[in-house]
C-alpha cells in the first residue's frame, strides 16, 4: 500500500543455503575490477554510456551495477532442513528530469543491454530543451565501515552448521518445555558500482549476516513462541564472541517460556516505559518515515513544513547515522554514490533535518544526506533510514520504572507500521509487563501500541542514560522495497499511549 511503511524483525524462517563462492579473494574485491572482469563493463565505459545517451538531455542520471550472493542455512529438529544459495545480478539505469524518473533494469549485464536500458529510461525524462546542467553528486570520501578479513559468505559451511547445532542444543537445554527450535543463519555479500552523470564512479562491497533462533515452548496444551537474533556487517566469528550465540539461544527460550504464563494485556491509554535497544522501532515509525525527503517534498507527510518547530519534548534528540562501523543499517556510500552521514533529525525537541536522496534534495534545494537507498538493481532509489536512534539522557532506568504508578513496560517488539500522511503509527510488543506501583510485575500477552507521530514524542517525560542499539535484526519496507536498517533507544517514559490489549 502506498503511503504506509513497515519495519519488522528480519527473522524470516529462512529456507535454503549453501557453500562458499570460489570467487577470488573476496576480502579485497575492487568493485571496478569485479565488474570489468566478469562483465567487461568498466567505469570509463559506464561514463561514456551516460555521456552519449543521457548528458544534456536530463537533469541527472546514473548507472548502478550489482552482484549479490546470499546463503541461507536452516536447522530444524537438529538437522539441516534447508541449505540454499542465491545469486542475483543486474544493472539499473536511471534518468531524472525535474520530478520525472525514468528507470530501466536488466539482469543481463552487457553493454548492449545497458544502452537499451538507457534509451528506455531516457524516454520519459527526456527534455529536448534542457539547459544541459547536471546535478552535481555529493562527492566526498566513502567511509570504510566494514572491511572484514573474512566476510561471512566465505566462512566454511561446517563451522556454520556446527554453530546452528550448538544453538539448537542450547535452546533445548534451557528448559524442558522447549519443544521446537528453528535456528537459521544468513550470509550475504553485495558488490555494487555506480556511475553518475557528473563523472563520479564509486563502488562498495557490503557484507551482511544474521543469526536467529526461534523457539516453541509447550506446557499443558498451551504453546508460545520466542525469537532472538542479531548480526550486522560483521564476520561469522562475531557470533562466537562475547557468548553471543549462547545469549541468543537463552533469550529465545526465556521469552517463549515467559509468555506461557502471560496474562491478557490491558486496553486503553496509559503510561508506557520502553526498554533500550530494539524498542527504538518507535522512532522509526513515529517520526523516521515522516522525515524522509520524498513525503515532505510532496507535502504528504504529517511533518511537512515543520522544520524548526517543536515536535518532541526537549529531552528528545534523534539522529540517523549511516556511518557506524559494522552496523546492519550502515553504508560506506548510499545507493546513489553519496557518502552516508549523521543527520540530526530532532535536536532537543526541535525538528532540524530531513533525510534526503539526490532527487528530493535537488527539488527541495537541500543537501543530499546519503540516505538514497534501493532494495536492489531492480529498483530506483528513494530516501530511507540507516541507523535511527535517540541520544541518551540523564535518568537511571530503575528510577524511570519506579516513577510509574500503573503502566506498561515493553522490552521487545515484533514489527511496526506507519501511515505517513495521518501520522498514525503502530508497533507490536512481543515481550511486555505490567508496572504496578513502580514495580515490574506480571508479563502480559503481546499487544499493539498505537500513537500519532507528531504528538507521541512530545509525551516523552524521562530519558535514561542507557542508550542501546538493536542487535541487528531490522528490515524496513517502503513502497515494496526492503532494506536493512538499525534502530536504538535508551529507556524512556511516554505519558499516555494507547495499548491495544483485551483487558478493559
Amino acid at each position: 500500500m502506498r503511503g504506509t511503511a513497515k519495519l519488522w524483525d528480519a527473522a524470516s524462517p529462512a529456507l535454503g543455503l549453501e557453500p562458499s563462492d570460489p570467487m577470488e579473494d573476496r576480502a579485497h574485491i575492487s568493485p571496478d575490477k569485479f565488474f570489468a572482469d566478469r562483465f567487461n563493463v568498466t567505469p570509463s565505459l559506464m561514463e561514456r554510456l551516460i555521456g552519449s545517451n543521457l548528458v544534456g538531455r536530463v537533469d541527472d542520471a546514473d548507472i548502478y551495477l550489482e552482484y549479490r550472493v546470499n546463503e541461507e542455512l536452516v536447522l530444524e529438529e537438529n538437522v539441516v532442513k534447508k541449505a540454499s544459495r542465491h545469486v542475483s545480478q543486474g544493472a539499473g539505469v536511471r534518468a531524472l528530469s525535474e520530478t520525472r524518473t525514468g528507470y530501466a533494469h536488466t539482469d543481463d549485464i552487457s553493454i548492449g543491454n545497458l544502452e537499451e536500458a538507457a534509451r528506455q529510461a531516457r524516454a520519459i525524462a527526456d527534455r529536448a530543451s534542457t539547459s544541459g546542467t547536471l546535478a552535481v553528486a555529493g562527492r566526498g570520501r566513502a567511509h570504510d565501515l566494514y572491511t572484514l578479513s573474512e566476510p561471512p559468505l566465505v566462512t566454511a559451511l561446517d563451522r556454520k552448521l556446527t554453530l546452528l547445532r550448538k544453538l539448537d542444543t542450547a535452546a533445548r537445554a534451557a528448559d524442558p518445555r522447549v519443544s521446537q527450535v528453528i535456528a537459521s543463519l544468513s550470509s550475504e555479500e553485495v558488490v555494487m558500482l555506480i556511475a553518475t552523470a557528473s563523472g563520479w564512479t564509486i563502488g562498495d562491497v557490503r557484507p551482511l549476516t544474521r543469526l536467529n533462533v526461534t523457539v516453541i515452548a509447550e506446557e499443558n496444551g498451551k504453546r508460545e513462541i520466542g525469537s532472538w537474533g542479531g548480526g550486522g556487517r560483521v564476520p561469522f566469528d562475531y557470533f562466537l564472541e562475547e557468548q553471543r550465540w549462547e545469549r541468543f539461544a537463552a533469550e529465545a527460550a526465556r521469552q517463549a517460556i515467559l509468555k506461557l504464563r502471560a496474562i491478557d494485556a490491558p486496553a486503553g491509554s496509559m503510561t508506557v516505559v520502553l526498554g533500550p535497544g530494539w524498542p527504538g522501532i518507535l522512532l522509526h515509525e513515529a517520526i523516521g518515515h515522516g522525515l524522509e525527503g520524498d513525503f515532505n517534498r510532496k507535502g504528504v507527510s504529517a511533518f511537512a513544513g515543520r522544520l524548526g518547530q517543536k515536535v518532541a519534548s526537549e529531552l528528545v534528540t534523534v539522529v540517523d547515522d549511516g556511518t557506524m562501523p559494522n552496523r546492519r543499517g550502515s553504508l560506506n556510500v548510499d545507493d546513489e554514490g553519496t557518502p552516508t552521514g549523521r543527520t540530526v533529525l530532532i535536536e532537543n525537541g526541535v525538528l532540524t533535518g530531513y533525510m534526503q536522496d539526490r532527487l528530493n534534495s535537488r527539488l527541495m534545494k537541500m543537501a543530499a544526506t546519503g540516505n538514497g537507498r534501493r532494495e536492489s538493481y531492480a529498483h530506483p532509489p528513494m530516501p530511507r533510514m540507516t541507523n535511527t536512534f535517540m541520544l541518551a539522557g540523564q535518568d537511571e532506568p530503575g528510577d524511570i520504572l519506579r516513577s510509574v504508578e500503573r503502566g506498561l513496560y515493553a522490552v521487545a517488539f515484533g514489527g511496526g507500521q506507519v501511515d505517513i500522511t495521518s501520522g498514525k503509527f503502530v508497533f507490536s510488543a512481543s515481550e511486555a509487563y505490567l508496572i504496578e506501583n513502580g514495580k515490574v510485575t506480571a508479563p502480559v500477552k503481546g499487544a499493539t501500541l498505537i500513537g500519532n507521530g507528531p504528538d507521541a514524542l512530545t509525551r516523552v517525560s524521562r530519558v535514561g542514560h542507557d542508550l542501546k542499539l538493536d542487535e541487528g535484526v531490522g528490515t524496513c519496507g517502503k513502497e515494496g522495497q526492503s532494506v536493512p536498517v538499525g534502530v536504538g533507544l535508551p529507556t524512556i517514559r511516554i505519558d499516555g499511549m494507547t495499548v491495544g490489549g483485551t483487558q478493559v
Binding site: R2, G3, A14, L15, G16, L17, E18, P19, E76, V79, V80, A83, S84, R85, H86, V87, R100, T101, Y103, H105, T106, D107, A121, A123, I124, L157, Q180, E218, R223, E224, I225, A267, G268, S269, K298, V300, A302, A378, P380, G414, G415, Q417, D419, T421, S422, K424, F425, V426, F427, K445, G446, T448, I450, N452, T498, V499, G500, G501, T502, V504
Partner: protein, 450 residues
Amino acid sequence: MSAQGDRSGLLVDVLKRAQARGATAADGFLIEEQHFTASVRLGQVDTVKHSRDQRLSLRVFAGRASAAASTSDLSRESLERVVDEATALARVTAEDPHAGLPDPGELIGAVPDLQLEDTTGNEPAPEAKIELARQAEAAALGSDRRIANSEGAEYWDRRARYAYATSQGFARGYATSAFGLSVSPVASENGEMQRDYWYTAARHRAQLEAPDSIGRTAARRALRRLGARKVKTIEVPVIFDPDTAATLVRAVAGAVSGPSLYRRASFLLDRLGKRIAAPAVTIVDDGLMPRALGSRPFDGEGLATRRTVVVGEGVLESYLLDSYSARKLGLRSTHHASRDGSGVGVSTTNLMLQPGPASPEELIRSVTNGFYVTELIGFGINGVTGDFSKGAAGLWIENGQLTYPVAEVTVAGNLLEMLNAIEGIANDLVLRDRTVSPTVLIGRMVVAGD
C-alpha cells in the same frame, strides 16, 4: 509468449547435469517476467519503470538429503556453478525421510487453459498506459475540493512465463499476464490530512475497472476519514469491511499451512475435522477459476491445482500442504506448493470466505453501538496463540448508522474466539484480489482508545 517456450529445454539440461554430478533426483522452476510500471502525480509523470527478470530455482536430492539454489544469471557458466554448488550442498544436509519429489504418477497430465494470459495483442503504447493513471488520479482530484494533493496513481502490467521440470522427465509450463491501476489521494481540511487508496487488478486488460471509478472510490475513502477521532476504550461488536476481513482469512490460511503445523506453531494445530468457527463460515481455496488472479494450472511441484474446502460450515476440513509437509504430517499434498528462490513452501490460490445472505447495510443496521473497520495496520497477529491486536481506522456505528470517522485505536481479540463469534457474513464478495472476503460482523471485540 508460447505456453512453454524454449526454456523448458534449458531447465531439462540443468536437471540432467545435476544427475550427472551425483544428484539422485532434482526439480527446477523457471520464471521469466516483464514488468512495466508508470506513476503519475498531480497530473505529471513521476516514475516510469521497465524491467525484465528471470530466475531459475533448483532443488536437488542426494538420496533423502536436499538443497536449493537459485540464480538470475542463466549463462551456461553460471548454471553449471549453481548445479555444482547445490549438489555439493545436498551432501552436507541431513537425510530427511520425508524429503523427495512427488510420486510421478501424481503429476499433472494435460495443462488446462485457465485463460491467465491476455492474448488479445495490440499492446498499448506507454503513453496510453500512463494516461490511465492520469485519468484515475484526475477523477480523484476532481471529485472534491478537499482532495488537493495526492501520492499519485500507478499503472502496472506484467507478463510472466513459468516452466517446471523434474529429473524424471516431466516438463510443463504456462504463461500469465496481470494488469493493475491504483490511486492514493490525500484529503485535507482544517490542517488535518488523510490518505487512502483504491485499486483494480486483473489478468486481462479488459477486466480492469474504469480509471474514473477507481479515482472516485479512492477519493471517497480518503474524504470519509476527515475529522477522525479516538474513542473511549470499549468492548463492542466490530464489522470488518471486505478488505480488512480478508486479513482474518489470510490468518486462517497461515495457521493451516503445512510448515506452521509441523513446527507446531499454529493456533489451529490438531483441529482437523473439528469446529473452529461459527457454522456460517466456509472458506474455499479455488485455483481453477478462469481468469482469476490467484489461479494456476499446477503448483510448485507439478501437481494439478484444485478446489479445496478449507473450512466447511465452521469445521476445519483441510490443511494446505505441499509434498514435504504432507509426508511429515502423514497426509497427502493438497497441491499448494509454492516456489520461490529459496525453495518450496505453501501458498494459497484464490482464497475466499463464502458470502452470506445479508447485505452489508443490514449488518450495519443490526449494530446499536459498534465499530466499522476500513483499515488495519501493523503486525499484531501471533500465529501460535491466535492472539490478535492491530491498529485500526474506520467509522463508528450508532443505532445502525455509520457516523463519525475513528482513528488511532486498536482492535484486539483471539482469532479462534473471533472466528466463533462471527455473527454475520454479508453478500458482497467480489473476487478483486487473491484473498477476498465479504463484510464480516464479529459479536464482540475490544476497541482500545482513550
